[in-house]
Symmetry: C2
Subunit: 228 residues, 2 copies
């Protein structure tokens, strides 16, 4: 077992493995080999083994992995056995949508408060979640034991909001503002940038495609004739 730092790519895949195992478990399957798992879900068996090996020896040679044991182990590794309270900052379209979405997805995260500067919104509710004045953020973080913040404000305010959030002691942040945020090393920021995602589809659609539909090459766009 390695004790080096684990790549986020690895932990993301653990989430995927856990889902796969949940499916298998629901089907009543008791053990699974890395090869079997890989074939069923279009994964790579060597990668599964390597990812798991970072955290311990979960398999049995000649047999594979015990589905339910591994499910429990991954749940614990991912911290999905501990509850967290979420505060969403920005009660605009994105913020309210996320509040609504997360409220009804059964996870270990529960949304306990929304925050906004707009007086007209403060006091209203989205589902069962109340919208508070952003000035009450610190107070609510203490009272509701919020340990995760979701930033869903316009890009230009995002960095300032982040700094406020960090100052209050929150260490895990999900950012939906289309801008990369900067914080210290020990703060975890996960940015979901829907604009970049759309623009990557736009790029794809803008490509000239060959017979087989594959992207052939970029459009030459030189303003000058290349000497070499």
């Amino acid at each position: 077992m390695k004790v080096e730092k684990i790549s986020e790519l690895t932990t993301n895949r653990l989430s995927v493995y856990l889902r796969c195992l949940n499916e298998l478990s629901a089907k009543g399957i008791k053990t699974v080999s890395s090869d079997d798992l890989a074939k069923r879900f279009h994964l790579n068996s060597a990668q599964i083994r390597k990812d798991l090996a970072y955290f311990g020896e979960f398999g049995v040679r000649g047999v594979g992995y015990y589905v339910d044991n591994l499910r429990q182990d991954l749940t614990k590794i991912l911290g999905l056995d501990k509850p967290h309270n979420v505060g969403i900052i920005g009660a605009g379209r994105m913020g309210t949508a996320l509040a609504d979405y997360y409220e009804y997805s059964q996870t270990n995260f529960s949304v306990v408060a929304l925050f906004d500067t707009d007086k007209a919104k403060v006091g209203q509710k989205v589902g069962n979640v109340k919208i508070h004045d952003i000035k009450k953020f610190e107070e609510l973080v203490k009272k509701e034991e919020i340990d995760v913040a979701v930033i869903a404000v316009p890009a230009q305010y995002a960095q300032d909001i982040l700094e406020m959030v960090v100052k209050v002691g929150i260490k895990a942040i999900m950012n939906f503002a289309p801008i990369p945020l900067k914080a210290e090393e020990n703060i975890k920021i996960r940015t979901v940038d829907l604009t970049i995602s759309l623009e990557s589809l736009s790029y794809f659609l803008a490509q000239p495609t060959g017979e087989n539909g594959k992207i052939m090459k970029p459009i030459a766009k030189n303003r000058r004739i290349k000497k070499k």
Copy 2:
């Protein structure tokens, strides 16, 4: 200039560069060097130059890049000068939130239709966008010239929906179902998995942190004592 295939990492960064240039342009700045750009926005100057070099020679040695020229070039490379019509499949929380969100974000994408199987939803409107019966998908794709699909249905239906979407000739898909989808090579699928994002925060919060707050190492979770 290279003509190899371009990594998605590169094109994602082009989106970022374009935003940065828009900011500079708004400030009235006319030229910028890769070093300057990198320092202002916490990027890497060599990477900026390399990314741009895939598409042509946009810079002037000894000067840098002309902000407005480069903005235009990137806009064209990313295909942001051409409009696209989007159909969102799944008028649940996620689908309606996205419809609402995208409708008011000024991009070259416009949401023209929502689709659902639920008869109670069909006929209703989200903002200005009507919800249609999923059976009318092909018809609407033709009529409204939809060329981008957003999949916002529960995980278990996502793969089937994808296949329906592809069959109708759509080549660019954004997937919000928490499951990796499989399609042919010439189809572009961009998956945004909010569950994995949350679980990665969960993992982070579950880690034992040292003095400096850094993640020290994974929890040893071996069921057996390691022999070696």
